[in-house]
Symmetry: C2
Subunit: 148 residues, 2 copies
DNA sequence: AATTTTAATGAGACTAAATCTCAATAAAAT
DNA sequence: ATTTTATTGAGATTTAGTCTCATTAAAATT
């Protein structure tokens, strides 16, 4: 319990510091959006976050959700994910447990995976091209074992 | 010259066979769209292909472009690319010279790269999860050397 | 603590990419 | 040549995402 509360405190601090660094204000809405993305391990879309927060009683608009998500993506606090259905998904970016995705084109199932060798190769490639790597998008599409 | 004509012939054969396999018809519009994507090495969007073909005198509609692109992506003849500006791009998928992308978030420049080690790791991961790998999407976002 | 300054928000209008409908057309089969 | 059936075109429609601007709430200042 104590540990959990500390964890929330720490991640809220991350948001506060990021906003401060960008000269932006630490508002109720931004806190709630960040907390929502942070405390779930699913791949959320903007509309879904909007309605979840409204259902919980928060007064919030669609524009605020989109504007906040932009800030979070640009500052690398969340990742953007395109599974090919015309709607962007977002998920908490835990820098210490990063993962990419396997997506089934038949049933839309998403399987997460980790591969340090790939991460290292990405860094190497960026270095070769004199790129300052900010984030990446890496999805493998195919047919999962259940759909084969 | 002879070589070039043969090359076109071969890729048109690829389209014909793919359509046949799917029980679809080999139409003028599908040929022109495929040829357009095939014969340029740029990252094209649907609207741009539509107007290029119309300018060239072909009678073709937006719906046909989108419908054909869907078929080509699903059959792995072209790759879909999301550079983050809300418009999907497409490019010819040369299976023997596959590449991924480095995208500058500041100037939108796209740099292509090839990495066999990454391709091998992707195959390995798919195999581990008992996935039949169809295609992938791999983009590295960051700041290019000119924008730093 | 009250006041001023300035950025953020909400509501809904707006934009634009992508999809859908259905009568007309063209490919393939007969 | 005729029939069958998928494809196309035109434009209406949908919907994710953006924009505007008056109102509100952070943060800075007094």
């Amino acid at each position: 319990m104590r540990l959990n509360l500390n964890k929330i405190k720490i991640t809220m601090q991350v948001l506060k510091e990021t906003l401060h660094k960008e000269g932006l204000r630490y508002t109720k809405q931004r806190q709630e959006i960040w907390n929502e993305l942070r405390s779930s391990d699913k791949h959320r879309d903007a509309e879904e976050i909007l309605f979840t927060l409204r259902k919980r009683g928060l007064k919030i608009s669609r524009a605020t959700v989109y504007r906040t998500i932009d800030v979070l993506v640009k500052n690398n606090l969340i990742d953007k994910l395109d599974i090919g259905d015309g709607r962007a998904r977002f998920e908490y970016n835990d820098k210490y447990l990063h993962h990419d995705h396997l997506i089934c084109t038949s049933c839309d199932k998403i399987i997460e995976f980790n591969n340090n060798e790939i991460e290292e190769l990405q860094n190497k490639i960026a270095k070769q091209h004199n790129f300052k790597l900010l984030y990446h998008s890496h999805q493998l599409f195919g047919i999962c074992k259940d759909c084969k």
